[in-house]
Homo-oligomer: 306 residues x 4
């Protein structure tokens, strides 16, 4: 089966109290555990123990975790990682609270990726028998789940190859310089299943180890607006949107958490398929790819990475 | 009864062929009559002969028309106009094709306003007996009707007073310098009925006679997105949005017609009431008033008038 | 100016505790005052003291109130009422808490209508200076305001004539037996301004004094669904919908309060205009008029009046 | 990799001309090929040659096709099918126009299932380089793709087991008699990836070989309404909706094609995951599972199979 999905993201925040107000009160994530400088959270529609971990100290992404279907998948990924030539390290159950043993990999881009086969099952407030549509009392935006992350790379192509070769991800969409250089990815959107992306990569100078954004899924264009309204009331800085991406066709708002990490609320987008042709975007059309409605790009899009 | 609503707007366009493609193919208005350098159009849900008139030559607003309930209202407005001290002139049936006789007024801001009591009744394609929800074949955005116009003024207060004293409009929302200067309108949103605005005014240097934007009504946030999608495909330049105004709470996209006139698709907003308190916006909060979601203002907002 | 709008509705409920849970916790109305067997409530976007009054004991509508623009309008309506030939009675400030003096009229249909020129101004939680889009913490459905009521009549035509002659309402849409009997209204939708209806009337045997439904306004199709989802969780019985009316084009859910009074959440609909032609529906098309999407009518529609 | 998705459904129709009007003009599918009594269609966002095949003569489902990732998957499924004990037969490239060779299986429920690894690639009108959001000119509802089918079974459990054992599908949701009989499926929703269901099964007397419904995907609640509006204008009979399912949380309208086959437009629903706990619905709550908003079930739901 292999990799199921992006399971968790550890995000560094400069001020834990401000981060709590944002991620809990504004975004509506549930705090599950606080240990040392780390706060573990989950969305209401997630059933594993946590998907977002706030780590006080600095900004950016500390590490990301991918869940695989079964313990054997860890071995396969370890073996393929060695063949690919990245550094790996076994991780022990308990290295991360409520997460099984697994593998820790350093990507060519310098990001730390963990692979695990189990998390403590927590379930959601609607239960599994005759469930209501959602919990009656959601807080703020009430985001149901983590969706994807866009990581920075000095060189996208090598890290992209890692995800394809080792994780068996496929390319949903790609940004290329022009049609004469189709072998070169300036950015790539990679999926393990039917979502538009589990992970995406974007290239830039000194982008290695950096986070472009972390995205949470919402349900549809109306919920994107509701999120924007709550952000307005709670004074959350907006980077872009509401708008629709040309790439993935997702509806979106980019915004910043109190530490300056870019986050995204993301909804819809077409059903990705492994046999669907990869969409290609040439660099001259990148603005429409990111912001299909107004077809311009904020300067911050390429500068504000953490 | 008095003034019913904004009935028509004459917009100057530099290139009639480009304007036709935009207003007919992209916006979905119906061409009703073409005479000389003028094209008369209507929205699908309007029943009078026309609401938008394109005049080839230049840019900006040539004149706006307000419909009153009955012929006597013309006399009342003529009398009040004289008392107020603006220049008026009787207009004859046929001065505007398919429009009754009425009154032509020069506003303190220099804009030409016409008042009329009748237009040729045309109806809509769904008829008046057991109507379908909308005509089966709409073109492009398929905008149903004109909504309002925002006019520029060197001094908003005098022209605002005209609309209140002579047209019996009331103030729905107002932009003021600060709470110590509540008697001074920097911008004002004026209504005759339950819509958030039939006409609005904004102050700036050399704004007299100018058009800030002309707005068309759509039905809700989803239709705002659909409009933005069509604008993307048809390469219509976007100025702002999709977003929601703090002022009126309308959902919106500002965009430019091929001549550079700012237009707006506008949806929702609260039900305005004559006895509802006027909302006040202080100048330091104007960005949130215009763009409630991202709370920033394009530079073009105050510079791109035609 | 005359009648501004439907201002309040007194609804009889069999069980005040159940009614409170419904109107406050599910619908999100604010309790403003409780005196004797009466509870006064308002929606978050209303500025007058109350719009819904629950009266313990029985079911149906005890009375409805219409707000006029100024005290003189009361005199005009009193005079016209006498000419029309309905029974009137002066009401004193304080007859209804926080409501001015006015006039009480017994409609030909037996319903009690009150006319008043003032209510205690309360305002809303977003205030009138640089207001947020809505209060951050709304309860349940969070309905912003009352919209309209549909009253039963043994004979619609006389009561319709009252609203036209005395209140100066106009006919937005009408249900007629067939095109050969256009002078006979089986149901009528009447407006004072730009809303699709302030009051509507429907004819049936022993319908006099009865309530078909009381409607609250929501903003758009997405909020109609959200309301339906909350009703599902809170186990509110649905009568019809979500769907769209052919008549007024409003989006709707009909549902029952715990006492069996039909209520409606209502959104959108076209902009009504005094000079817009009245839409006619023939009796054979009534199902599409009420439920444009599935074009069938529940049996309860004509039987469940309170 | 195994089974990617439901790839095509052959639907029997009594009248090809009426079916064409419905599937092409109302639903907006593209006719790709007509041979003998068969018409091959695709949705605008599908890239393989066809997904819906209309076969003149009778009603119901003639056969369904599932696409697998690679030719080897055919062999695996053939082998597993024999182990499971269902009848299989090799099919040749060209048995179905534009479809590769593969395997034909007779399900325990009597339905014919075909498995194939390739179809002629056709692509969509937006292309694969810098694509627009959708083709500028869509017809009617403009449905982008097929979503799933719900098949009838005299005994769900055996056919469910087939899809789990042979196709490696997993259970997203299940209807059971009660919590004391959790091993018995009265209905089941089965997925191969992250969609709520590729195939679903429902049990009833003489349900074998029958079709409950065939579903097409739309994007969100607003497009569900737009579909309902077009169905109203085009006089398509509605069976249920617009509403939201409790099961899968999809938004939906059930309707009938001109031959009486139930179809569905389906949108949203949560992201299904192989490790997500299967939701259980007890028979007493089935009405809420199917129609979460009004929590009642049409009689037709269990009787109108074709």
């Amino acid at each position: 089966m292999g990799v199921l999905r992006l399971g968790y993201v550890h995000v560094r925040v400069t001020d834990m109290e401000a981060a709590k107000r944002h991620y809990i009160n504004t975004m509506g994530f549930y705090p599950m555990l606080e240990v040392g400088n780390k706060l573990y959270l989950k969305g209401w529609d997630e059933f594993d123990h946590h998907s977002i971990v706030l780590e006080e100290g600095g900004v950016g992404v500390a590490k990301v975790g991918f869940k695989v279907a079964k313990p054997d998948d860890i071995d396969v990924i370890e073996s393929k990682s060695r063949t690919f030539g990245v550094e790996t390290q076994r991780m022990t159950k308990g290295d991360n609270p409520d997460v099984s043993d697994g593998l820790r990999i350093t990507l060519p881009s310098g990001h730390i990726v963990e692979v695990y086969h189990d998390q403590t099952y927590v379930g959601s407030l609607v239960g599994t028998v005759n469930p209501q549509l959602f919990p009656r009392e959601l807080v703020g935006i009430g985001a149901p789940r983590i969706d994807h992350a866009l990581l920075g790379c000095d060189d996208v192509n090598t890290t992209e190859k890692f995800f394809i070769d080792v994780f068996d991800f496929y390319q949903v969409e790609r940004l290329i310089p022009d049609l004469d250089h189709q072998d070169c990815s300036l950015a790539t959107w990679l999926s393990s299943g039917n979502r538009g992306h589990d992970i995406a990569l974007i290239q830039g100078e000194n982008y290695d180890k950096k986070l472009h954004h972390l995205a949470f899924q919402l349900e549809g264009w109306s919920d994107i607006l509701k999120a924007g309204q709550i952000m307005s009331i709670d004074d959350v800085p907006i980077d872009m949107g509401p708008t629709q991406h040309g790439i993935t066709r997702g509806k979106t708002i980019y915004y910043f958490d109190p530490s300056g990490n870019r986050n995204e609320v993301f909804a819809d987008g077409y059903v990705a398929q492994r046999d669907r042709p990869t969409m290609l975007w040439t660099a001259d059309q990148v603005a429409r790819g990111i912001n299909a409605i107004n077809r311009t790009l904020n300067e911050t899009f390429t500068t504000a990475l953490t």
